[in-house]
Structure formats: C-alpha cells, structure tokens
C-alpha cells in the first residue's frame, strides 16, 4: 500500500541509512519533508494546483513489480536508439548540405559540431541508485563534475547543501522525494565551462516498485551544458517514480534540459523541475511525456536576474485511460526577462491531458516579454484536454500573450492528402505527426531532436511506416 503511513514507516526505517545521514541539516530537512508530506497527504482536486489531477487513489494503491527488467538491456537499447538518432541526424545534415543551394559544388558538407562529437556522458541510476558499472561518464572539461549525489554528499556536502532545496519546496510529492531520495545526479559546471555533448541521465526502475531521485545542477557564470533525463520503460507493474531536478543557472549560463519520459504503462511518474536563473541566464526545458499511467510534471523557473531568458517547450501523448499533467510556472522577478512557452498535446482513447501555465510578472519586472501557447489535438471522442493559462501581472510595461486551443485534425488537410492517394489512416497519422513535430523542431541539438522524433513515432500507430518515408 502506498498510504501515508507506509511512507512514514519507510522514512523511519531508512533515514539512518541514507547518504548524508550524518549531516544535521539534511537529517532535519528530511524530517521536515516527511512531516509536511504526512500533513498534506496525496493531493486531491480540492487543492488549487491539482484541480484536474487527483492522487487520492495512491492511498489505496499497492505498488508492486510484476516483471523485473535487466537494467543493462535497457541501457544498451537506449544507447543504441541514441546512436541511431545521431546517425539519422548526420544523414539529414549531409543531405541538407548537399541540397542547399548556397553550397559550392564539390565542397564537403560541414557537420555541426554536435554531430562530429561523441555520443555524450552517460550516468545511469538503477532503482534510485547510481550504477557505475552501467555508466560511461567519459572525459570532461576542467572544472566540470558529473557524478552521483550520494558521492557529492560524502565529498562536498556544503556545496550540495546550497543547491539541495528546502522541505517546503514544490508540491507534496516533492516533499516525499526530499525525505526519501537516496541518490540522483550531481552536476557542477565551473565558471565558463562548456560540455559539448549531452549529459545523459538514465533512470531505470528495474526491480524496485518505487524510486526517488534528486538531481542537482549547478552552473556557474557562463557555463553551458545540455542535460537529458531519460525515463525508459522499466519493470512492469504498479511502480512509482518521484524525481526532483533543481537547476541553478548563474549569470549568463546556458542550461538546456530535456526530459524524455517513456515509463511503463502502469507506472506513476511524479516529477518537479525547478530552475533559478541569474542575470542573463538562458534556461531551456523540453518535456517529452509519452509514457506512464499517470505523469505529472511541475516545471518552474524563476527569472531572478535581469535579462534572463526561458523557453519551456513540451509535448505529451496519452492514450487508453492514461493521464498526463504539466503544471508550469514562470516567475518574472526582474526586468527585461523573456519567456516563451509552447506545449502541445496528443490525446487518444479516453486519455486526459492537463496543462496549466502560470506566469507571474512582479512589479519590478518591467519590460518583460512573455508568450505562452498550448494546443491540443483530440484524436478520439472520449479524449479530454484542459489548458489553463494563469497570468498574474503586477508590472505595467510588459508584453504578455497567451493562447490555448483544443481541436481535431483539419478536415481540409485530410481531404487534400486523400485526394492525392494517401489513405485516410496514413493521412491522419501524418497530420498528427506534423502537429507534434513542431514542438520537436525547437530542440536545437539535432541528435536529441531525432531521438525525440523516434520516441514520438513509437507512440503513433503504424509509426514505423511514417518513419521510412520521413
């Protein structure tokens, strides 16, 4: 059972053995967090931020693995998919270079640096713990540290403390995470450092029914990196993942975060991504949510310094009776910040998609430029979408635009395709793919964009047929 008492018991039984159990600040934080969770319980629709998503069922939900997976197989498959995506991106770049009118005849096509580079730094976690044998972190530029939170707590606890967050942060599941998380990724990017290839964090539920991960990213001034969180399908059964990722982006740093959630069909996935941006920092979040029975992502960023830029980009797909919820919040705290937010949803069967886009513009945040869109495509009559913008603006010199749509495939476009001999099923797929692909186009890193595309095609019926033509 996943009732509150179960988790109180878990904390009581495991707290002394968690990494950092010798650190008074962390012991207290974990206690405060579990107290808060006991207090609030699983959120229900009576809570403002959970109006369309209730976790009340969790109190009766038994968590159990029905069929375990071998993590090494999952990692190998994921890395193979990424290799294939890199290959596809490379081919596309070469073809593009060949067909580009400006390229001189006979000149060798130039590849973007991200294509010429290796396939990245792989940090693998199994059942909530760092798995060094499955990881391949590889060489790193000076001043960059990529490792496990457990190790960092042993080695540089004071640095972790500054980034860890508080027991009161986020929603109730984030508090549960703070109390129970034993590990996660620890990424420190020294001033001006640049990690060219993506840092891949892979989280596999292999045999455990629940896993709790806390990832901390500290980017010093001017640092640049792309961090990918992979949640591939793991063990079959009712499993729970809680994850909290915190990004501290110092002045003029560029942090791109991509999350690819493809958990098994019965999994419960509750995640928080929180960023804090200093002056001129650029934070990009791509959230691709394709798996799990219920997935909730709380994504927040605070533009705490002048001239910071944020892009929150997201794509979700749900079918059957699955439920996906993105609850986003952008805090414009200082002047001249720019935020762009684009979400798209594909909802089939009797699935439900929820999007909330909260934008706060503080009185001090003059000349803020914020834009938000959420568009949903309903692929069946029983599917449902809720898109809710929430704008709170206290400054008077701001540009703020928002829009939301819920619709079906365009009948004119469907007929146009059919009138060219494309059958109705294929025409629907193609238009569905095209609707979703617009989100993927915003992923600047070509191999990651190709990986996202492959993951999307996996979700679409007969996606393989589309793939051969694209």
């Amino acid at each position: 059972m996943s009732a509150i008492d179960f988790w109180l018991g878990r904390h009581r039984d495991t707290a002394a053995g968690l990494p950092g159990a010798d650190l008074p600040w962390l012991v207290r934080l974990r206690e405060d967090a579990i107290d808060r969770f006991a207090d609030e319980g699983w959120p229900t629709t009576r809570r403002e931020n959970w109006r369309h998503t209730s976790l009340a069922f969790m109190a009766q939900q038994a968590l159990a693995v029905r069929e375990a997976v071998a993590p090494e197989t999952v990692v190998a498959a994921l890395r193979a998919r990424y290799q294939a995506a890199r290959g596809a991106a490379q081919d596309a770049a070469q073809q593009g270079a060949k067909s580009a009118p400006q390229s001189a005849p006979g000149s060798a096509p130039e590849l973007a640096p991200e294509l010429a580079h290796n396939d990245g730094h792989w940090v693998v976690f199994v059942d909530g713990h760092f798995a060094p044998a499955l990881s391949a972190i590889g060489g790193l530029p000076g001043g960059v540290r990529i490792g496990s939170l457990a190790d960092a707590l042993a080695q540089t606890p004071e640095k972790v403390e500054a980034a860890f967050g508080q027991a009161g942060d986020g929603e109730a599941p984030a508090a549960l995470n703070a109390a129970l998380a034993a590990d996660g990724a620890w990424i420190r990017l020294a001033r001006g450092s640049m990690v060219e290839a993506p840092i891949h964090l892979v989280f596999i539920a292999a045999t455990a029914a629940d896993q709790h991960l806390r990832n901390l990213v500290v980017a010093d001034a001017g640092a640049q990196a792309t961090i990918v969180e992979h949640y591939p399908a793991g063990a079959a059964g009712s499993t729970l993942t809680t994850a909290v990722t915190r990004v501290l982006a110092a002045q003029d740093s560029h942090v791109t975060h991509l999350k690819l959630q493809q958990e098994a069909p019965e999994a419960i996935h509750l995640a928080t991504i929180e960023a804090e941006q200093a002056r001129g920092a650029v934070f990009t979040s791509h959230s691709l949510s394709f798996g799990a029975r219920l997935a909730r992502n709380d994504i927040r960023t605070r533009l705490a310094g002048e001239g910071a830029e944020a892009l929150l980009n997201g794509l979700y797909h749900a079918d059957g009776r699955r439920h996906v919820d993105h609850h986003t919040r952008i805090d414009h705290a200082r002047p001249q910040g720019t935020s762009r937010e684009f979400y798209r949803g594909l909802l089939d069967g009797s699935a439900r998609g929820v999007f909330t886009g909260r934008i706060l513009v503080a009185q001090d945040a003059q000349r803020t430029d914020a834009m938000q869109r959420c568009d949903n495509l309903l692929l069946s009559r029983l599917a449902e979408a809720d898109a809710r913008p929430e704008l709170e603006i206290y400054a008077d010199d701001v540009k703020c635009a928002h829009g939301a749509t819920v619709g079906q495939l365009d009948e004119d476009a469907l007929f146009y395709l059919r009138s060219r001999g494309v059958d109705a099923v294929h025409a629907r797929q193609l238009l569905t793919y095209a609707f979703a692909a617009e989100v993927l186009e915003r992923i600047a890193h070509a191999p990651l964009r190709a990986l996202g595309r492959a993951a999307l095609l996996e979700r679409l019926p007969e996606g393989a047929r589309l793939e051969e033509l694209l």
Binding site: A413, F415, L417, R420, G421, L430, L469
Partner: protein, 261 residues
C-alpha cells in the same frame, strides 16, 4: 471516358448541382465556365470525392466503373486528379514527403515499383524545373507561406508526378499574373495526351488562350446550359454571364441565342 448523368449534389441541405450532364472522351480537354455560385467548384469537389457534399441523384461512370462508389483516395489512385482552387497548407509536413507519399501510393496501386529516395528526387527535380519551381520548395512545409502562384505551380507539379488519366483543374488561373498563368498553362499543355482527359474549370476566358479546349460548357445554377466549341468562350468574354442568368430566369436550360443582349 467520363459520363456524368443527371448529377444532383447538395451541401447542408442546399442543392447546388441540379441535374448536370457531361461526357468527356479520352484525350479531350473540356472547359467549364460559369458565373460565381453556378456550381463549378462543387462539381470538382464531388468528382474528387469530398464527403461534405451529398450526391442526391444521378451517376458518374468512369470507364465502366461507378466513380461515386469510391473513396477519394481510391479515385486518386485510379488516376483522378483535382488541382485545388485553394491548395491546403499543411504545416510540419515537408513538400518532399508529401509528394513522395502521394506518388508511391499511386504507384503501388498501379503495380509499379515505389521510388527510392534518389530516383524520386531526380524525378521531382526535373518536374520542378519544368514548372519553374525552385528546389527549396521541396524542403518547405506543403504550401505553407507559398504565394498564390507558387501554390498553383505546386498543384501542376503534383499533377505531373501523379500522371492522372483525368485531371480536374479548379480555377487554376485564379489569382495568377500573366507570367504565372503562362507557366501553369505550359505545364498543363505538356501533360495533354490521348490517354489523358482534362476538365478545366475557369471563370475567365483568358486561361483558354493558353489551354485550348476541345469543348466549352457553360454551367449555370447547377446545370450545363450550353455547350459548344472554343468560340463559346469568346462569346462569353464579350457578353459576360448576364445573358445566361437572364435566360435561366425564363426556361431553365434553354439558353437560346435570341435571349442574348
């Protein structure tokens, strides 16, 4: 051979086609002219298989087959092509993908091998050159941000690639300047052949300066009210459509020469 017999079609309960008869023999080019609202575009859409129109009576026989019994995609594969008056923009689908999907769907149906990427590209590039389209249009989304002329060229390009037996061109001349009109007309003329019939729908005579029809029909209030040779188009150019409407006010379908102003 296309035989349209007593065709009636309605949309939202409103009758648009009211007993249309038309025969187009193989290799012939027929022009259908008529004022706005006469049912020209409805005819094109009904032939192509648009379900928003309901056929309430009549038949369309195409080489012995019941055209109206086929869904739109099967008509296309069997060799019917509609050049749209307003080609649809499809954001996110590249023109190259769209063209390849269309061409291969049709080729599969005809028992021809599907093109691979290289063969397809060389074929499509040659056809693009012929209609004066730059290669960059291959990599842009279907019709998105295309000018009116570019959209119409893209229609002619599709027609060339799909090699239809029957092509219906719905006001392909609308919104084109004279240079674009010539290029489009040349594209159409190149495709004229003894096996290929065409129905060219137009409001204006000027297209017929470049695509010379075998027969001209005047459509009014959902019926063909007059048929003739090319000179009929010139007559319409001179006198406008007013006399047809006047004649229709009297005895439907009996547009006599004497009724002209």
């Amino acid at each position: 051979m296309l035989k349209i017999n007593n065709l009636h079609a309605a949309i939202d309960g409103k009758d648009i086609l009211k007993g249309l008869d038309l025969e187009v023999a193989d290799g012939e080019v027929h022009a259908i002219m008529g004022p706005n609202g006469s049912g020209k575009s409805t005819l094109a859409q009904v032939l192509a298989g648009r379900e928003t129109f309901t056929v309430t009576d009549g038949s369309v026989d195409w080489d012995g087959a019941d055209l109206l019994a086929l869904p739109a995609e099967e008509r296309a594969r069997a060799g019917l092509f509609l050049a749209f008056q307003y080609p649809v923009e499809i954001p996110g689908v590249s023109n190259a993908y769209f063209l390849k999907a269309a061409v291969n769907a049709v080729r599969r149906h005809r028992g021809l091998p599907e093109y691979d990427a290289m063969d397809f590209l060389s074929r499509v590039k040659a056809e693009m050159k012929a209609v004066g389209m730059k290669e960059e249009f291959l990599y842009r989304s279907v019709n998105e941000g295309f000018s009116g002329g570019e959209k119409k060229r893209n229609e002619v390009l599709q027609m060339a690639l799909l090699e239809p037996r029957l092509a219906v061109l719905d006001e392909t001349d609308s919104g084109l300047d004279i240079d674009a009109l010539k290029i489009v007309a040349e594209g159409v003329n190149r495709l004229r052949s003894p096996e290929r019939s065409m129905i060219v729908i137009t409001h204006y005579q000027r297209l017929l300066d470049y695509i010379v029809p075998d027969k001209v029909h005047v459509l009014s209030q959902g019926r063909i009210v007059r048929s003739g040779g090319r000179e009929l188009a010139l007559e319409l150019e001179e006198h406008g459509y007013g006399w047809i409407d006047a004649a229709q006010g009297g005895k439907a379908g009996g547009a006599s020469v004497g009724a002209r102003p």
